[in-house]
C-alpha cells in the first residue's frame, strides 16, 4: 500500500483500508500456483479469495448443473475452450477478464534436444510427430479428458499438423490422423493434471529413470519444471514454429453474484491486471502478461504464432475419442485388489461397483471417456495371504462387449477372506508387467492400481518391496503405483511406495465409501 502513496502523493498518512470481502472462487487446479499472489491481493484490496480447486472436467460439470452459480461468486478457468466442450446451456459467466496467458510448448532433456537438433533453429509439430513415430522421441502429456493443458496439447498438435492456420475442421482432423498416431506412439507418461504430470516426470529424472525424453505442457509449468530439474539432467524448452494454443486464464463473475461480490470482484481484477502485479505474476509464476505495456521477461520469447481452438466442440470431442481409441497405444493396467477379510461387506461391494462403472453405461462424455477402451489390456490381481492367479481381459476393438461382460462377471465373483499381503502382490504385479512388456513392446502406458483398506500384515515388508523395486533393471520402465487407500490403510507406507515408483496416493481413509467410484474414475486419467 505504500508505493501508490508515493506515486500519487496522497495526503492521508493512514488511508482507510478497503472494505473486506471474502470472494468464493471455483478455480481450475492449474491455478494452484497463484495462491501467493492472491494472498498479497488481500492486503492491498481487502478481498480474501477463498479458492476451491478442482480439475477442469469437474468444473465444467459444476457450471452445467448450477453448482458454480449457487455456491460461488466467481470462476477462474485455465481456458474457456474446455467449457465449450463439456458445459451446456447458456453461458453463466460475465465480467470475464483474461488475467495472464501461457502457450503449450515442450520441455525436452537437453541431450535429447541436441540429438534431435531442436536446441537451435525451428521445429514444427510435424517434425516432432515424425521423430516420435520413428521412435526417436518419447514424451509425457496430461490427460485431455481431465486436464486443460492435455486438451490444448492434443488440439494444438492436431491443428498444426492439419495445417493451414485455421481452426481444426472434421476433415482436417481426419487428414491428420496418421501423423498424430505417429506423435502419440511416442507417449510414455500421462496424469490427471499438469501438476501431477510435472511431479511424476521430475521424480523420474531424480531417480535416474527418466520416464520420457520430454513433456508437453503450458510454458509456465515447464519453466517451473526446468528450474527444478536435477542439475545433471537439465531441460531445454522447445517452441514449435508453426504455432501454439494458449491458455488465457479468464476470471469471471457468475451471473448470479451479489452486488457486494461484484464490487469485490472488480477490485481484485483491477489489482491483478495492474502493471506492477502483471510484472509480479510474470516473475513469480512464468505466466505472460495481458498488458502490452509490460516488457516480457528474458526467458519468454516473443512473437509466437497463435493456433485456434475449434469452435465446434464436437471436433474436439471426436479428437479425444480418437486419442484413446486410435491415436495413442491403448493402456495396460494391473488392478491389485485387496480381498482380505476386512473387505467383507460394504467395502467389497463399493469396490465392485466402482470397477463395474468402468465397463459402460455411462451417460456423460466424462463417463464415456473414463470407461475401459478398445485395445486396452486389464489384469485383475486379487490378494489376501498372497496374490491370487491373475486374470487378463483384452478389450477387442471391433467388439468390446464380450470382454466387458467378462469383467463384470469376474468382479461379482470376488470373495473376501484372510490377511493383507500388499507387497507380495505388488511384486507379482511388476512381474506380470515385465512379462507382458517382453511379449509385446508397443509403447503402451503401463500402470499399477492398488486398492487397499488395510495395513500390510503378511508376506514381504515395505523395505523388502523397495529393495525389489530398486533391483529392477533401469532399461525396463517400471510402472508407477497409484494407491487408492481407504478403511485402515497405512498412508505413510503407501506414500513411500508411490514416491519410490513415481505414482500417487489417493487418500480416502476419512471419506465415505461412496467416493470410491469417483476416485477410480479419476485414476483412469493416469492410464
Amino acid at each position: 500500500m505504500l508505493a501508490p502513496c508515493i506515486v500519487t502523493g496522497c495526503t492521508s498518512p493512514h488511508p482507510a483500508p478497503p472494505p473486506p470481502y471474502t470472494l468464493r472462487v471455483l478455480a481450475d487446479s492449474e491455478l494452484a500456483g497463484m495462491r501467493p499472489i492472491l494472498a498479497r491481493a488481500t492486503a492491498a484490496t481487502g478481498v480474501t479469495v477463498r479458492l476451491v480447486m478442482t480439475d477442469t472436467l469437474t468444473l465444467a460439470n459444476d457450471m452445467t448443473d448450477g453448482t458454480a452459480q449457487r455456491d460461488y461468486d466467481a470462476v477462474w478457468l485455465a481456458s474457456a475452450d474446455y467449457l465449450d466442450l463439456y458445459a451446456s446451456g447458456p453461458n453463466p459467466l460475465v465480467g470475464t477478464t483474461p488475467i495472464m496467458t501461457s502457450p503449450v510448448i515442450l520441455a525436452v532433456r537437453t541431450p535429447a534436444a541436441r540429438r534431435l537438433g531442436w536446441d537451435h533453429g525451428s521445429v514444427t509439430w510435424l517434425d516432432i510427430a515424425r521423430a516420435a513415430a520413428a521412435g526417436r522421441f518419447t514424451f509425457g502429456m496430461s490427460s485431455p479428458v481431465t486436464s486443460d493443458s492435455g486438451l490444448s496439447a492434443l488440439v494444438g498438435a492436431a491443428t498444426a499438423v492439419a495445417g493451414r492456420g485455421a481452426a481444426l475442421s472434421d476433415v482436417g482432423a481426419r487428414q491428420a490422423t496418421s501423423e498424430l498416431a505417429g506423435l502419440f506412439a511416442g507417449q510414455r507418461l500421462t496424469a490427471t493434471t499438469s501438476g501431477a504430470l510435472a511431479q511424476m516426470y521430475l521424480d523420474s529424472l531424480a531417480r535416474s529413470r527418466p520416464a520420457a525424453d520430454g513433456v508437453i505442457g503450458y510454458e509456465a509449468d515447464l519453466l517451473a519444471l526446468e528450474a527444478r530439474a536435477p542439475r545433471g539432467d537439465p531441460l531445454t524448452l522447445v517452441y514449435p514454429s508453426d504455432g501454439e494454443i494458449s491458455a488465457t486464464y479468464p476470471l469471471s463473475l457468475v451471473v448470479t453474484a451479489s452486488r457486494a461480490a461484484t464490487e469485490a470482484f472488480f477490485r481484485l481484477v483491477g489489482y491483478l491486471t495492474s502493471k506492477s502485479e502483471q510484472e509480479e505474476i510474470m516473475m513469480a509464476t512464468g505466466h505472460r502478461p495481458v498488458l502490452g505495456s509490460v516488457r516480457l521477461a528474458r526467458n519468454l520469447p516473443g512473437h509466437l504464432a497463435a493456433l485456434r481452438f475449434p469452435a465446434n466442440p464436437q471436433i474436439a470431442a471426436d479428437l479425444i475419442g480418437e486419442y484413446f481409441g486410435k491415436l495413442r497405444p491403448p493402456g495396460r493396467t494391473v488392478y491389485v485388489l485387496d480381498t482380505s477379510a476386512s473387505m467383507t461387506g460394504a467395502r467389497l461391494s463399493h469396490l465392485e461397483q466402482a470397477l463395474r462403472a468402468l465397463t459402460g453405461a455411462g451417460h456423460t462424455l466424462a463417463d464415456e471417456f473414463s470407461e475401459f477402451r478398445s485395445g486396452e489390456e486389464i489384469t485383475f490381481l486379487p490378494f489376501s495371504y498372497g496374490p491370487a492367479t491373475p486374470t487378463v481381459f483384452s478389450i477387442r476393438a471391433g467388439d468390446p462387449r464380450p470382454a466387458l461382460a467378462g469383467i463384470r462377471d469376474y468382479i461379482s465373483g470376488l470373495k473376501a477372506h484372510g490377511r493383507t499381503a500388499i507387497y507380495d502382490a505388488l511384486v507379482r504385479a511388476y512381474q506380470i508387467t515385465a512379462a507382458e512388456q517382453d511379449r509385446e513392446d508397443t509403447g503402451r502406458i503401463d500402470a499399477i492400481v492398488l486398492m487397499t483398506d488395510g495395513e500390510n500384515d503378511w508376506g514381504r515388508s515395505l523395505g523388502a518391496f523397495l529393495a525389489y523395486y530398486r533391483s529392477l533393471p533401469l532399461s525396463s520402465p517400471a510402472p508407477p503405483v497409484y494407491a487408492i487407500a481407504f478403511g485402515e490403510a497405512d498412508i505413510p507406507e503407501l506414500t513411500q511406495v508411490a514416491s519410490a515408483t513415481g505414482g500417487t496416493v489417493i487418500d480416502a481413509v476419512k471419506q465415505p465409501l461412496s467416493v470410491l467410484s469417483g476416485i477410480v474414475e479419476d485414476v483412469r486419467g493416469y492410464q
Binding site: 496522497c10 478442482t54 449457487r70 475442421s169 493434471t193 521424480d203 463473475l253 452486488r259 464490487e263 497463435a306
Partner: protein, 344 residues
C-alpha cells in the same frame, strides 16, 4: 506426492440470507471510503447513488475513464459496470434483474427489444450513442486483400460479398475473427450483415434464416474458440498481425485505441460493406436505472466524451458515409443464431 483433495465441501449460503438493504448500505459506505482514498469529490449533503449496469465489453473504456467517473459523481452517481455479451443479457435477463442490476445496456436495439419483451420494465429505453461494425487488418495484408477484391483499391472498404464468396470457394484463407454470435452483439450483427448479403435483402422469415445458416456457419466455424465478448477479439488484434490478421469489431474500438496511443502504426480499419450501425440501447430496470439512462442520454459532457475520446456517434447526423443495412427482427435473428451455433 499427494493429490489435491478433489474438492472441499460445498460452501454455505449465508450471503443469500442477508437482506439487499444491508448490502446496499455496505456498498455505499465502501464507496464513500474508497472515494476518500482516491480523492473523488463528494458533495457533503447528498449520498452517491450506486447503479449496477450490464454493458457491452467495448463500452468499458468509456465507463472506466476518470472523466466519465467524475462526471457521473458530479451528478451524484457511482456506476458499477459489468461487461458481458449483449445476448447474455437477453438470456440471463430475469436473473440479472433479480440480483439487483439497475439497467442493462446491450450494444444493439434488437437485444434491447428482446430484454423488454422478457421483463416488461415500465421505463422505455434510451439510445445515447451508436457505432458501426468495422473490419481491422494490417497495412501489409492490404495488397493480398485487394488482389482478391475483398478490399477496394483505395484500401478503405471490406467487400463482405466478395469475402463470403472467396472463403466459400477456398480461395481466401485469411479468416475474419469475431466474437461468439451466441453471446455477443458484434458476432450476432455479423450474422445480420452476412445474411443480408446472401439474401440480397433483410431476411424476413425464420425459414430463410435457417436455410442460410449452413453458408454462414462456414464463415463462423473455422474461427475457433470464439471469445464471448468483442473486446477480447480486439485486444488480441492489438497484439499484432501474427495473433490476429483480420478481426471484426466496432469503429469505436479502433478510435479509442487511436486516442489512447495503443494502436500499432501499421493497423488499418476497413469499412464493412455493407455494415450495421449498432445503436447502443439502455433498458432501465428500476428508477435509479432510469435516472442513470436519462443522464447518459442527455448530459452534454458525457456524450461529448463518448464521441470525442471513444469514437461513439452521438447523433444520426454524424454517422460516417457507407452502406448500412438493418438487422432482421429479434425473432428472426434468434432463429439465425440458433441455427448457426456449432453442433446445431
Amino acid at each position: 506426492m499427494a493429490v489435491e483433495p478433489e474438492k472441499s465441501g460445498k460452501l454455505g449460503r449465508w450471503w443469500r440470507a442477508k437482506g439487499s438493504l444491508e448490502i446496499r448500505i455496505f456498498t455505499v459506505l465502501s464507496l464513500l471510503l474508497a472515494g476518500g482514498v482516491t480523492g473523488v469529490r463528494l458533495r457533503e449533503p447528498t449520498l452517491l447513488t450506486t447503479v449496477q449496469v450490464a454493458v457491452g465489453s467495448e463500452d468499458m473504456g468509456f465507463f472506466r475513464d476518470q472523466q466519465t467517473v467524475a462526471e457521473f459523481a458530479a451528478n451524484d452517481f457511482t456506476v458499477v459496470t459489468v461487461p458481458m455479451g449483449s445476448r447474455q443479457m437477453v438470456v440471463n435477463a430475469k436473473t440479472l434483474s433479480s440480483v439487483g442490476y439497475d439497467a442493462l445496456f446491450p450494444s444493439s436495439e434488437d437485444f434491447a427489444l428482446e430484454i423488454e419483451q422478457k421483463l416488461n420494465p415500465p421505463y422505455g429505453n434510451q439510445q445515447p450513442f451508436s457505432t458501426p461494425l468495422a473490419v481491422f487488418t494490417w497495412r501489409d495484408l492490404l495488397q493480398r486483400l485487394e488482389a482478391e477484391h475483398i478490399a477496394d483499391p483505395s484500401g478503405t472498404e471490406f467487400n463482405l460479398g466478395q469475402y463470403i464468396a472467396d472463403t466459400a470457394s477456398g480461395e481466401n484463407h485469411m479468416l475474419l475473427d469475431m466474437s461468439n454470435p451466441a453471446d455477443s452483439d458484434s458476432g450476432a450483427m455479423f450474422l445480420a450483415a452476412a445474411s443480408y448479403v446472401l439474401n440480397k435483402g433483410v431476411v424476413q422469415s425464420t425459414s430463410t434464416a435457417i436455410a442460410l445458416a449452413p453458408q454462414i456457419r462456414a464463415l463462423v466455424g473455422p474461427l475457433g474458440g470464439t471469445e464471448n465478448t468483442t473486446s477480447h477479439v480486439f485486444s488480441q488484434y492489438l497484439e499484432g498481425e501474427s495473433a490476429e490478421p483480420l478481426a471484426l469489431g466496432y469503429q469505436s474500438e479502433f478510435a479509442e485505441a487511436q486516442q489512447t496511443g495503443e494502436l500499432p502504426a501499421n493497423a488499418v480499419m476497413l469499412q464493412l460493406d455493407p455494415s450495421i450501425n449498432c445503436v447502443h440501447t439502455i433498458v432501465p430496470l428500476d428508477k435509479p436505472g432510469l435516472k442513470f439512462a436519462t443522464l447518459l442520454d442527455t448530459d452534454p459532457a458525457l456524450l461529448n466524451l463518448a464521441a470525442q475520446k471513444y469514437g461513439f456517434i452521438d447523433s444520426a447526423n454524424h454517422i460516417p458515409r457507407g452502406v448500412y443495412v438493418s438487422a432482421p427482427t429479434p425473432q428472426i435473428l434468434e432463429a439465425m443464431i440458433g441455427a448457426v451455433e456449432p453442433g446445431s
